[in-house]
């Protein structure tokens, strides 16, 4: 059994490529669980971070520092009465949230958490991700239409128009990055060897290309890579309907947009889909521009010592979190009323510390590194999402369209053309 596991771990392919159904299944389960945990954590973190930006405390009652709040919310949503408007189109109303969730989760099939940590590696990986995530617009249109109500319909129309428009800019930025996989670049931007190599759409190969070229694509052909990344970073916020592009669910205008009529479990599916879509597009951004699972300073800080230092990061992170939790435990009010919470927080700290210690072990340490760096970069994007939400007012619909069509699209085209010219000529 153990031999089988280690033999697989040493095989250096993704389960999909190896045609190994069992491992593919295990990976799917792992990703599903991981995503669910991430969404729950994200829920708590968003409330906490946003609250602290807004000079308040956020959830504090359910569990120590509100740690159990998302779980309480999940339970509340699940046992809530499921309301379906009388005039709604029953079947479509039913399918819409399911479709949105399925598309949000399906994209994760090709997300490479590490050189071998992906369900499969498609040679159209990026195309697949963009395509499947563009399907979620169908679910949103269906939800808005099936509710048979004005606000959801306007929300759905806004949302679909927005997603279709920003997909184009997004696609151009992606193509620019894909183009970079084939251009090694010499001369002015010279890293090494000139020839035009093979381009690829595969997520894993894109990261490998960044590894081979010793440059994350965000820094490649400076500033072209940076501009392409910036276009993608803007378009991806619009694509996931988050602030400041959250018009489809603009609370002050359309009450809740396309999911106004949804409640309970169905609503929670939309919630789940929104957050997993955020993680999905962030994963694309990380893969294409930020070097995926590669650790930072891979070319500058080389050598055994640095490798060791960087491999200690995952454990250090968890130990730091544990330390924060311990400090929190010590600062808990010394009152019998808080005893359960204090014990809970101490237990949480212990779990974090345990994970940290497990991550210190050399075999685990080496294996987990890729996933750690990938997740850390994605987490950075998640923080950005929250930050935007706390800072920006909402765009108006015409302004949104103007930004999409008149700014991002031409700039994206220009970057694409310049990338090609720079790559071939220089």
């Amino acid at each position: 059994m153990l031999d089988y596991v280690t033999s697989y771990l040493k095989s250096n392919t993704t389960p999909g490529q190896a045609g190994n159904l069992l491992w593919a299944f295990i990976y799917i389960i792992l990703i599903f669980l991981g995503l669910s945990v991430a969404v729950i954590a994200m829920n708590w973190l968003e409330r906490k971070i946003l609250a602290h930006m807004q000079v308040r405390l956020g959830p504090m009652r359910v569990g120590p520092h509100g740690l159990l709040q998302p779980i309480a919310d999940a339970i509340k949503l699940l046992i809530k009465e499921d309301i379906m408007p009388a005039e709604a189109d029953k079947s479509v109303f039913w399918i819409a949230p399911v479709l949105v969730v399925i598309t949000a989760f399906t994209t994760f099939i090709v997300v490479p958490f590490g050189p071998t940590h992906a369900v499969t590696d498609m040679n159209i990986g990026v195309l697949f991700m963009l395509g499947v995530s563009s399907l979620s617009v169908l679910g949103i249109v269906m939800a808005g239409w099936a509710s048979n109500s004005h606000y959801p319909l306007i929300g759905a129309l806004r949302s679909s128009a927005q997603m279709v428009s920003y997909e184009i800019a997004m696609g151009l930025a992606v193509v620019a990055a894909v183009l970079m996989t084939s251009l090694h670049g010499v001369g002015l931007y010279g890293v090494a060897h000139g020839a035009v190599g093979d381009g690829t759409l595969s997520m894993i190969d894109i990261v490998k290309a960044q590894q081979d070229q010793h440059a994350w694509f965000i820094f490649k052909f400076f500033p072209l890579g940076l501009i392409a990344f910036f276009i993608f970073a803007v378009a991806m916020v619009a694509e996931t309907n988050r602030a400041p592009f959250d018009l489809p669910e603009a609370e002050s205008e359309l009450t809740a947009g396309f999911h106004t009529e949804y409640s309970g479990f169905r609503w929670s599916l939309f919630f789940l889909a929104e957050y997993s879509a955020m993680i999905a597009v962030s994963s694309i951004a990380v893969t294409l521009w930020l070097g995926g699972w590669l650790r930072p300073f891979a070319t500058w800080l080389t050598g055994e010592t640095w490798d060791l230092v960087f491999s200690l990061f995952p454990a250090a992170t968890f130990l730091l979190l544990a330390l924060i939790a311990i400090v929190g435990t010590l600062r808990m009010p010394k009152h019998p009323y808080f005893r359960v919470q204090t014990i809970g927080l101490a237990g949480f700290a212990a779990v974090l510390a345990l994970i940290g210690i497990v991550l210190l072990m050399p075999p685990v340490r080496d294996r987990i590194q890729d996933i750690y760096w990938f997740s850390l970069k994605v987490a950075g994007f998640m923080y950005l999402y929250i930050w935007y939400r706390g800072t920006f007012p909402r765009y108006r619909f015409d302004q949104l369209m103007r930004v999409g069509w008149k700014v991002l699209l031409p700039v994206g085209l220009g970057v694409l053309i310049l990338t090609a010219i720079v790559g071939v000529l220089l």
């Binding site: 129309l157 603009a250 002050s252 205008e253 706390g390 920006f392 007012p393 765009y395 108006r396 619909f397």
Partner: protein, 384 residues
């Protein structure tokens, strides 16, 4: 008063306007339960996609018959009721009412009372503007300023509570002056608050004034010219943002306003952005006034000689003050008895709300929200 639930709008719903692609117009009911209508305002919107073809405000969901109640109460008994109209600026309401009755009675509040009145009224203006800023920004999608302004407004409410025991509907003034003497350390508290809040206003401006999205969302939105404002009777910051230098505190000084040095901020374009800037400047001016007043509150009585039973002579009077939202006027008809024959309130929100249709026609749904916010209406005052 029509029954709001059966009310049919005059939007010519059957008539077809020219729409893009000749699609059907969409009639949308915004409110009375809607997160951005600041209460129970119901706006019927006729839309061509996102474009507003026309609006119709349906009001009266919060109608409590305040003016009718006045006819069955003595002058002093009616005083607390006015606080319930514009409940975010209760002090100003009370000030206007007390001064109107004093005018009928022909008494004058003593200078010390006037100073206290000015300080509290200006604090109240600050509180009202802060609430406006928070909710307006929230409507446009910036959620953070709301919490900042509520934090700082809390300090004002604390001063109110210390002064008269109530936070929101204060009933701080009585006919003829003030009931309560300032508590020990009132001046210190107010000064401390001034020092606390001055940088905070910069903080709000830092978040919004140069924020690209904020500027794009508010500039050239809900434009209204000074002429149109005057034609519609629109007053307050909305009028001033359209470039008309009209402030009752300067034009017909009441209380102790003639003794202070302050400026009337005005705008040029009369758009939502200018109204924002004007209100921010007004907050600074209020601070300036309070700072002057708090240093030199004169000694003396706080109550003029007012008979126990208030029985004004027969006559009528119109007295108006500059409330945070505009000109707040009281028209009082006295028949010589202990109860007013008629009290008519000229609420600024009600009059300003008229401008909504003119301001949003041809703009987008999102602008309706912005304009409702920028008009700074309080439904308690609109419906009375």
């Amino acid at each position: 008063m029509t029954d709001p639930s059966t009310y049919i709008s005059h939007l010519e719903l059957g008539e077809r306007d020219e729409t893009f692609l000749d699609s059907n117009e969409l009639i949308i009911n915004m409110g009375p339960q809607h997160p951005a209508t600041h209460g129970v305002l119901r706006v019927i919107l006729k839309l061509d996609g996102e474009k507003v073809l026309g609006t119709e405000c349906v009001i009266g969901y919060l109608h409590r018959g305040v003016e009718k109640i006045a006819e069955n109460r003595t002058y002093a008994m009616f005083n607390p009721y006015v606080d319930r109209m514009d409940y975010v600026a209760a002090v100003s309401n009370g000030l206007g009412y007390c001064e109107a009755v004093e005018k009928v009675l022909n008494v004058e509040a003593p200078p010390r009372a006037n100073y206290i009145r000015v300080i509290l009224a200006e604090l109240n203006r600050l509180a009202s503007h802060m609430l406006w800023l928070g909710t307006h920004a929230l409507d446009i999608g910036a959620i953070t300023p709301l919490f900042y302004t509520f934090r700082d407004r809390e300090e004002i409410l604390k001063i109110f509570e210390k002064y008269c025991g109530a936070r929101l509907t204060t009933h701080a003034f009585r006919i003829g002056g003030c009931l309560y003497e300032t508590y020990d350390g009132f001046e210190k508290d107010v000064t401390k608050f001034l020092d606390f809040v001055t940088p905070k206003i910069d903080e709000y401006e830092e978040l919004l004034t140069t924020n690209r999205i904020w500027v794009e969302r508010t500039r050239n939105v809900g434009k209204i010219s000074g002429k149109e404002c005057i034609a519609l009777g629109v007053t307050g910051p909305v009028l001033r943002a359209s470039g008309v230098r009209w402030d009752l505190r300067k034009a017909q000084p009441y209380a102790a306003y003639s003794e202070f040095d302050f400026e009337i901020p005005i705008g040029q374009n009369g758009d939502t952005y200018d109204r924002y800037l004007v209100r921010m400047a007004e907050m600074r001016q209020s601070l300036h006034i309070i700072r002057q007043a708090v240093g030199k509150i004169p000694e003396g009585p706080i109550m003029a000689k007012v008979p126990k039973v208030i029985k004004p002579p027969v006559g009528e009077i119109y007295h108006s003050i500059e409330a945070p939202k505009g000109e707040l006027g009281y028209f009082i008809v006295s028949d010589g008895s202990t109860q007013p024959y008629r009290v008519r309130v000229r609420p600024p929100s009600f009059v300003n709300l008229q401008a909504l249709d003119m301001m949003v026609r041809g703009q987008l749904v999102a602008d309706v929200i912005a304009v409702i916010g920028t008009l700074d209406i309080v439904l308690g005052e609109v419906d009375r």
